[in-house]
Structures are given as C-alpha cells and as structure tokens.
C-alpha cells in the first residue's frame, strides 16, 4: 500500500445556525484505500463529505485533496473526483445517455459517445440508453449514478450510502464493483455506509464519527483485532461449558442465549484453546462462529 495522502481533513467544523453539525473531524485517506466512513445518523458524515466536495463551506478546519487546498484548487481537485451523495439525481425528462453527456461535459475531460455507451453497458444499463430516466427504478438510477461517477475516470471516488434502497443482488454488485475498482485500477474509494458488514467486508481503513467528532481512525483489521473476539458456540452440554469457562478461562465473559447456544467474549488467541478444552472435557461443539466484529466494535465506540 502506498502511503500517499489523497485526503487530509483537519479539525473540520460546521454550524448550521445554532446547530453544530460537525465539531472536530480529522482523518487521512491514503492512495488505494477503500476508506470506511462510519457513524450513526446525524453524526456529521454527510456534512463532512459535502464539505470535501465543496457543496458546504466549513466554518473551520482544513481540507486537502491530492495534496492541495480545496479552497484554492477546487476545479483542479474536483476534476479527479467522482461522487454519489446520498442518492444520484438526474434530469427525469432526459435519457440516460443525455444525462451522462451533460455531466461528462462539465467533468473536465472529453468523453465520447462510445465511452458513454460502454459505461452504460458496464453498469448493466445497455439497451436503456435512450430511455428517459423518469421511468427508471431506484436501482437503475443508482447504477446510472455509478456510471456518472466513473465516466471521467476519477482517481478518487466518494460514495455516500451507495447501497441504500438496493436489493441484495444490487448490494453485492456494488460491493464487487468497489473491490474491482481498487484491485484493477487502484482507485481510492471513500465509502460512507450504515451497512457495517459492507465496511467490514471491503474497507481496509476507516474512521468512526459520532456527534460531529472523529472518535477513532485506523486500519480496519488492526482496530478489530485489538479487541476481544465474540464467538457463538453451539454445544450439547451447557453446564459443563459454563464450568470450563469459569474455571479455565477466567478472563472471558459470556452470555447464555439458550440451552445450546452461548456467546463468549474472549481474546482471539484463546479461541483454539477454548475449543480444545471443551472437547477434552467431553463437550460436543457443534458450531463455533465469530459474531460480526465491527458491529460490536462500533456499538462499543458509540456507547462509550
């Protein structure tokens, strides 16, 4: 991973009247990162992203993209950025290809009709080129939004809730697309999402924002590995299992879900030993699966 800083946000603050939407947000995104942008509703994610795209003028703080100040080099910076903010909106009375042509014309790069057709094909809208966008479903608009984002071949892609309203197949397609952009074209992607599993699956770095402040930032694996792991066990003898945990694994905490299932909060390196000890004590372990780590991590951070 190269460590060239693509985005550097420092002490960003924005008020809307008396409401402090962003108090103090700082984070750094490196080239080639798929950067997860996490936070509960109203945390200040969208305001931060809008500030980064010059839609909102911050009251305080600095935003640098590609090593340049956003205020001073706005147009140069934005020519290298593709984005979807919340939902892609298009001219309903124009066709898909005319919509793309309109946004391509002001994207800072010359885009041919053939490239527009290829991009529509790439996002699975081939054959709908001349259909008016007014008749498109939400999923189709989302695909068109992705096409609009990628058409001028930006180096940085900002996706704010890109999977909202998509069906499971659409979510998988967007996820695969992001992974392809990273692996094949080494694009830098910022992904803001409520879908924690999405971030966990595809992001390598992340920041968590709460109440207008960045709480924690870092490598996803490192952040999650530093925490205790939660494993869900399905066993045939709950009494023996609890005894083993109490006597042999004092540092672990647990919660019995039902007669056969128990959730154990334990250090990651102790998991194989736990399994081995249970088997040695005659407990049949029918299943042992890790629970969503990011979900727990996120909740801990937010609640703290």
């Amino acid at each position: 991973m190269e460590n060239t800083e693509i985005i550097k946000v420092q002490h960003l603050a924005k008020n809307f009247g008396s409401f402090q939407a962003v108090k103090d947000v700082s984070f750094t995104v490196n080239k080639g990162d798929v950067f997860g942008f996490l936070g509960p509703n109203g945390a200040g994610k969208s305001t931060t992203i809008r500030c980064m795209l010059s839609l909102i003028k911050p009251d305080n703080g600095q935003i640098q993209l590609f090593g340049k100040d956003l205020n001073k080099h706005r147009n140069e910076i934005l020519s290298k950025v593709g984005s979807i903010i919340e939902k892609p909106d298009f001219y309903r009375y124009l066709s898909a290809e005319k919509n793309l042509a309109i946004f391509a014309r002001i994207s800072g790069k010359d885009v041919s009709k053939r490239e527009i057709a290829e991009m529509l094909d790439f996002v699975g809208l081939n054959g709908r080129n001349r259909d008016k966008v007014g008749g498109f479903s939400h999923g189709m608009k989302q695909r068109l939004g992705i096409a609009q984002t990628l058409l001028h071949q930006p180096d940085l892609i900002v996706l704010d809730e890109p999977t909202t309203g998509l069906d499971p197949q659409g979510i998988v397609e967007i996820r695969n697309l992001i992974l392809r952009l990273k692996s094949e074209q080494n694009k830098t992607v910022i992904l803001s999402s409520h879908q924690l599993s999405e971030i966990e699956l595809i992001s390598n770095r992340m920041v968590i924002i709460n109440k207008g402040q960045s709480i924690i930032e870092g490598d996803v694996k490192e952040l999650l590995n530093a925490q205790e792991m939660v494993v869900q066990l399905e066993v045939n003898d709950m009494e023996k299992t609890i005894n083993v945990l109490n006597i042999r694994f004092e540092s672990a905490s647990f919660k019995q879900i039902n007669e056969r299932i128990i959730e154990v909060n334990i250090e990651k390196q102790l998991v194989p030993s736990l399994n081995q000890t249970l088997v040695q004590e005659g407990v049949e372990v029918h299943a042992m699966e890790p629970k969503r780590k990011l979900e727990d991590f996120f909740m801990k951070i937010i609640q703290s």
Binding site: F16, R50, L53, S54, L55, I56, K57, R74, N75, E76, I77, L78, S79, V81, S83, I85, K87, P88, D89, F90, Y91, R92, Y93, L94, K98, I102, F103, R105, I106, S107, G108, Q148
Partner: protein
C-alpha cells in the same frame, strides 16, 4: 466550461415540457386576438375612433397589421412575464428541488459559471419568445390584415405614423421590450438562487411585478422612476412623434442596471450557498 454548461442549459430547456408551454400559450393568445380582430375588429376600431369622427375622417385600411401588432404588444406585455418566469424561475431552484444542482456543484465548474450559464440560457429563451411574439404579431398580423399607416392613441392624443416610418420603430420597440422581459428573466433567476422549489421564484416574480405596478400612490413617487416596472412599457415611446430619445435612454439605462445588479446578487448568493438538498 461556461460555454459547455450553457450548451447543457439549452439541452435542458429544449427537453423541458414547460418551455413549450410558454411558447404554446403565447401562440394561442396571439392567434385568439388575431381571429377575434378578424371577426369583430371593425366594430372595435369604430368604438375607439367614434369620439374623433366629428373632427376627423378616417380613410383607408385602419385595421391593418401594424395596428394589430401594436394592440397585441399592448395586451400581452402583462402576460409574457409569467411565461418567461415559468421557465427562468425554475433554472436554479428546479435543479435544487430535483437534486441535480448537487451533482453539478461537485463538478469542476465554478458556481459563478453555473449561474452565468443559466442567465445566458434564460436570456436566449426570452429572446426566442420575444422573436416569436414579433413574428406572430407583425408578420402573421400583416399577412392576415395587410399593411397601412398606424394610428396610435396615447396620452398626448392621436398619433398617425406613415407606413414607411413604422418598421424601424417596431425593430427598436421589440429591442426595448426584450430588455424589459430580460429583466423579468434575470429577476426570476436571481430569486431562484434563493429558493429550493420552482414555484416560489415564479410566484415571487409575479408578485413583485404586481406590487411595483400598483404602487401608484404619491408616497412612492420618489422611488417609482427607479423601478423596472415603470419602464416595462417604454417600447411604446417609439410610437410617439417625435420619439422621446432621452426618456428611452433613461429607461434602457435603468433596465440595464437592474439586470447587472440582479446577476451580481444571484452570483453572490449562489457562491455563498450551502448545498444541502
């Protein structure tokens, strides 16, 4: 980038049904007046000239294309602002309501260029509307009613203009009428920069026109000469004899100043605006 986005604006205006609504409504109104005048124009003229018939005798084709064009301009100058603002009042706020302004503002085009391209597109649309009005009123009017001298009744009395002395007056009067309509267009785009829906600027534009027009009380006498509405009918001055050039120059200056100030306000507001839609 300004030219590219202006081209985009033309594409949008051409594709929007409401753009044709204005032109369609104008065509219908003018055709209605033309057919009404064809059917009952003579009695209308007799009614107007009746008070002069004891001292004057009218010969020839009084109800001609030149008079019809004058009547049409006179009648429609109140309605056309609505048709203009219907399209121009939607140019920024309509995009804010649709969410597309957010998409545009994340592109490498300055906000000033976005606003200016909308002003240019609005100005061209207004020009086409004025040109179409001129064609319907003057060309179709002459085709239906023939040509002849123009008799105009104004505050100083009856003015009779020779047929060969009329065309240049129409050319210039359409120019000034266009400038007046351009001010409406600029006003509605300016209001559009403050709004998040398209109805607000259209209603506000019409309200301002109505308010400024009915402010006909002595308290407002000092500011009235500086209001654009006072100069909206300046095109009529070209049909006076002699033409009051100083008055016309004054009107043109005030309309031009209005346009410049309104553009500057819109550019300032749009540049300062947080796009949260």
């Amino acid at each position: 980038m300004l030219l590219k986005n202006t081209y985009n604006e033309f594409i949008k205006i051409l594709a929007k049904p409401r753009s044709y609504l204005g032109i369609g409504a104008l065509t219908l109104l003018v055709l209605l007046i033309l057919f009404a005048m064809k059917a009952d124009g003579k009695s209308f003229i007799s009614f107007v000239t009746a008070s002069f018939e004891q001292t004057l005798s009218f010969n020839g084709n009084i109800l001609n294309g030149n008079l019809i064009a004058f009547i049409i301009l006179q009648m429609l100058i109140v309605h056309i602002p609505l048709l203009v603002s219907l399209v121009t009042g939607d140019l920024i706020s309509g995009e804010a309501a649709m969410g597309t302004i957010r998409m545009m503002a994340t592109k490498p085009i300055s906000r000033t260029q976005i606003v200016l391209s909308k002003f240019i597109a609005g100005a061209v649309y207004t020009f086409i509307l004025t040109l179409w009005l001129g064609f319907l009123a003057l060309i179709v009017g002459k085709w239906m009613f023939g040509t002849g001298d123009l008799i105009v009744l104004n505050s100083d009395g009856l003015v009779i203009l020779k047929e060969q002395d009329i065309l240049w007056r129409y050319g210039l009067s359409f120019g000034v009428a266009y400038l007046a309509l351009l001010t409406i267009s600029t006003l509605s785009i300016c209001l559009s920069a403050f709004a998040e829906n398209s109805i607000g600027p259209i209603v506000s534009t019409m309200s301002i026109i109505i308010l400024f027009t009915i402010m006909d009380v002595s308290v407002f006498d000092s500011i009235k000469p500086f209001l654009f509405t006072t100069h909206m009918a300046s095109w009529r001055s070209f049909f006076e004899d002699p033409v009051p050039w100083t008055t016309i120059r004054n009107s043109v200056s005030i309309l031009v100043i209005h346009n410049i100030v309104l553009v500057l306000i819109a550019v300032y507001k749009f540049n300062k605006k947080d796009i949260t839609s």
